[in-house]
């Protein structure tokens, strides 16, 4: 009997031991490991972002920080551990002038490892540092530290390009990019701009110390120490002085333009925002890129204030700040207006319908009542002249003829070759160019496929509207047509597109790239801001080489014809941008360019575009300006581009003066 009892007891022991040590042993081995080894991470200093000449755009600064050891002050549910802790928290509340709730919230932030003090106040006054370090006995578990934070020696310069740094969020943690690089909750990452694109190099590798700790928390041994590897510095293509001037000129131009009148509507220009892009047409380097309105990246250090967050992202009822966080140079896709005529012109030459020598009429009215911007018939002209005069009807005629050719092919059951659209895509429209700053949009190049696709996406809505609109109204007629035949790529669509209206949309960057292609004779360069990454020893870890995205093959005389037209816009006798360039030393620095005045709906003031390259005979700069609701291209944007070119060539920059309001193209 006793033997049986004893045997049962022993079997119980053996089976439990088998379970613990053999079956569940791995789990317990892990637990033992996590018991004994504490990992303390040291953040690596992030790499700097530098202008092309090495001037600092972003670097790190040491900030006086008050940090607290949460395990000494708080219990598991965020309450003071004991009376001492309570007293310390009360002293911190007084010292830092924050309430206790906020203090506890900061201390328990998941952003920081529980095994090192949590920063609770960054950038504190020296008196606060003294108070804590000289009265350590009053602040057990609290330390004054020096932590690296992002600093912006150039202020808000190039804010849209640099981007900012903030704590990684839940979605980003699941993003394979961050997951594969081993990012963890609480890591600071580049959230936008170059900080985001070059995150992998800028971030550096955090230092790591593995400590052996006993049950009472005493460190017994340093098992492993890895020094932090600072992030590499990013050298950009930005010309810092030019960038500063471009930002200043854009802002000045936009603000000044708001005093001007839009001639045809009589309303003053809204000029809600704008962008300027300066490219090197020979390699795709972005020399300057500005977007207005802008913001101050310094506001992101230590977290956005609510007030500033509402400026960047207004909520219901807040004043419209015109989306300062958007980088309009790459993310504002708008109808390009007449700047698009280089695409239509080159396409017309490619179709063979015209040669550089051919002439086409430029009547005041074409077809079924489509007007040129100019009310006079300008007679027949060649392509260069059509560009100089920005004659809409010239391009209507040619694009309509091409549309007929395509339709005939379609009717004959062949795949129509959309020459205009194909060229536009080859030049980098319809898709993002892939600039190394996140947020770029691709715009739209409409055509038969696009129309069909768009119709399929919208027909439910248009058909419903057709049903509800009153019998016999224009709206009912329009929606019925859209509902039933909205998939048809009409002649009207083709001619609208030929002058950069209708459904075509481009970003300022795409226009700049297209003008660079004309300037350099056919090469589509990858636009980029990154030049090289240099590690802390000064060794180049990554050379960012210019890349050719595409090569547009066209006879030299075609390029010459386009360039002639663009030069005439600025320098010809009847160019649309003569007056904004009055007084510019065109004899020394010849400039080629094109105005654009894009209608954006019947109620809005048009969007003002100007694209230029200079010197026209040996292009070094491509400059594009877009001002939303800025009126005529020569009215607002051409004066901006002129001043940017003055700055680029080291000429004295003239005070801003609006161009003529009556040149509406």
């Amino acid at each position: 009997m006793l033997t049986v009892i004893v045997t049962v007891l022993l079997v119980a022991l053996f089976s439990r031991l088998w379970f613990l040590q053999v079956l569940a042993g791995d789990r317990y081995a892990e637990l033992a490991q996590s018991n004994a080894v504490r990992v303390v991470l040291t953040e690596a200093p992030r790499g700097d972002i530098l202008a092309r000449d090495g001037q600092e755009l972003v670097k790190n600064r040491v900030a006086h920080t008050i940090s607290a050891d949460r395990t000494r002050l708080l219990n598991a549910i965020g309450e003071p551990r004991d009376e001492t802790a309570e007293a310390v928290l009360a002293r911190l509340v007084d010292l830092l002038e924050i309430d206790q709730e906020e203090l506890v919230r900061r201390m328990t932030s998941v952003r920081y490892s529980p095994f090192r003090p949590t920063p609770i106040a960054i950038d504190v006054a020296p008196e606060v540092v003294f108070a804590v370090s000289e009265h350590a006995e009053l602040f057990p578990g609290v330390v004054a530290e020096r932590l690296p934070v992002r600093t912006y020696p150039q202020g808000d310069l190039a804010a849209h390009l640099i981007g900012h740094v903030a704590e990684i969020d839940a979605d980003e943690l699941e993003d394979p990019f961050f997951a594969d690089l081993g990012y963890r909750g609480g890591d600071l990452i580049g959230k936008a701009g170059l900080e985001r694109t070059y995150e992998e190099w800028l971030h550096g590798t955090e230092g790591l110390r593995q400590l052996e700790v006993n049950a009472s928390g005493t460190v017994l041994d340093l098992l492993l120490e890895r020094e932090p590897i600072p992030g590499a510095d990013l050298v950009t293509t930005l010309d810092l002085d030019l960038q500063a001037e471009v930002e200043r000129i854009l802002e000045e131009g936009i603000l000044a333009s708001r005093n001007e009148i839009h001639v045809s509507s009589g309303r003053s220009l809204a000029s809600t925002g704008g962008a300027v892009v300066v490219l090197d047409p020979n390699n795709g380097e972005v020399l300057a890129m500005a977007s207005y309105p802008t913001f101050d990246p310094r506001e992101y250090v230590g977290g956005l204030s609510e007030e500033y967050a509402r400026y960047l992202y207004p909520q219901e009822g807040d004043p419209d700040t015109h989306a300062p966080a958007i980088n309009r140079a790459i993310a504002s896709a708008q109808p390009p207006g007449s700047t698009w005529k280089i695409v239509s012109g080159l396409a017309a030459l490619q179709t063979g319908q015209i040669t550089p020598q051919s002439t086409v009429p430029c009547p005041a009215t074409w077809g079924w009542g489509k007007n040129n911007w100019n009310v006079r018939n300008e007679g027949s002209m060649d392509l260069a002249t059509a560009l100089m005069r920005s004659c809409d009807t010239f391009f209507y005629e040619l694009s309509f003829n091409q549309w007929l050719v395509e339709n005939r092919a379609d009717d004959a059951g062949e795949e129509p070759v959309e020459v205009y659209q194909d060229l536009a895509r080859a030049m980098g429209f319809d898709e993002p160019l892939g600039i190394d700053v996140p947020g770029e949009r691709g715009g739209t190049v409409p055509g038969r496929d696009w129309k069909l696709d768009y119709w399929e996406r919208t027909k439910d809505d248009t058909c419903a509207r057709a049903e509800t609109a009153a019998e016999g109204t224009y709206a009912r007629q329009l929606y019925s047509e859209l509902c039933n035949e909205g998939f048809v790529w009409r002649g009207g669509d083709a001619v609208n597109m030929s002058i950069g209206q209708g459904d075509v949309q481009t970003t300022p960057l795409q226009i700049a790239s297209a003008y660079a292609t004309v300037a350099n004779g056919g090469t589509v360069w990858w636009p980029h801001l990154g030049q090289q990454l240099v590690d802390s020893d000064g060794d180049v870890v990554l050379e960012i080489e210019p890349r050719v995205l595409n090569q547009i093959e066209a006879p030299a005389e075609h390029w010459a014809e386009l360039r002639q037209g663009l030069e005439d816009v600025v320098m010809g006798a009847r160019g649309t941008a003569i007056s904004p360039f009055a007084g510019f030393p065109l004899d020394q620095i010849p400039v080629a360019g094109k105005t654009g005045t894009a209608e954006a709906g019947s109620t809005q003031v048009p969007y003002s575009w100007f694209a230029a390259y200079a010197p026209a005979d040996d292009p070094q700069y491509v400059v594009v300006s877009l001002v939303e609701e800025g009126g005529g291209g020569s009215q607002t944007s051409a004066p901006i581009v002129r001043r940017v070119l003055e700055a680029a060539f080291g000429l004295p920059v003239q005070p801003y003066a609006a161009g003529p309001g009556n040149v509406l193209d």
Partner: protein, 396 residues
Amino acid sequence: MSVDTGWYGSDRSQRMARERVQARWQDAYAPARHLDPILVVTALLLTGIGLAMIYSATSFRLELNNTDVMFYVRKQLVALAIGVVAMVVMAVMDYRWARTYSPLIYVMTLVLLVVVLSPLGTNVNGSQRWINLGGFNLQPSEVGKLAIIVTLAALLHEQKGEPRFPIVVAAVALVVVPMGLVFLEPDLGTSIVFVWLTFVLMLVGGVKGRYLLGLAAAGVVATVTAFRLDFIEGYQVERLTAFLDAGNSELAQTSAFHTQQSLIAIGSGQFVGKGYLQGTQNTLSYVPENHTDFIFTIVGEEFGFVGAVVVLSLFCVLIWRGLRIAILAKDLFGTLVAAGVVGLLALQVFVNVGMTIGIMPVTGIALPLVSYGGTSLIIWFALIGLLLNIHMRRFT
């Protein structure tokens, strides 16, 4: 054939031959020839393992405090020496002597148990369990176990295997007094051991099943009443129940924490262990009391499942030898004492190891022969001596 000329045995040569046979038989039955070497060697092996484990458990801590790393090992070696002497003493004198003097042993034990509760006793961690005898701490409750075995065995021996009801009542009464004293120290674990010993001895002593069941029922009622009337201190309840939710992190630094760390230590040893002095749970002091009650965690962590099985197997050998002695014993008293010793051993091993692997509550019960603790070691060698004694005298 020879002619028988005198009385039987008058022939000297015959007598001498007879005496030679007799002497050979006497020699063969001489107690000294019936030692149980397996029992002794196993006990010594376990003690040796215990010494190695004590060294592993304490040397790191002692080194950290810059004190003699052999401090505990040395003290345990002294206790071992005394224990071996006690074993010899207990083996040499006839165990039936204990039957005669059992009332005296019983009374002396009661005196010690009263003294320990008086200001003469030493209070450690709220328990009054030790009497300081100039550098050596005597733990009367350990002596009490021996006394209970001897006293009950003597009482039941008289009943020749058929104890009547009044005797059962008397036996319970004899146990309740020292048990109550131990309970007051408080030493809940040892009190429970007393209950178990009573049960084992009555079972072997032939107490009828219905009495045993009645006793068990009474025990349950008493326990429940004790809980209800708050006789048992809060921490004891907590310690007893905490093992049920060892994974609960809210109870860190409490007894659940002990159990959890103990489980981690043993579990992380896996199949072959981390190696001697290599257990991090041990060397970094994550397992409290790992030189005394939790010494099995070191076996588990540093020698893995293999080591744990070896140690438990050695205990099985002891139990096997003990049961064999109980069966072979010449009289019921011997059987009862041997069974009591085996029962005590089996219970302590089960409760102690069970505690470290989370299937028994945390009670202050040491692992026999292995845990650090002088009184316990000496008593265990004395009990081994007692077993030897019974074994040796199974023919005389």
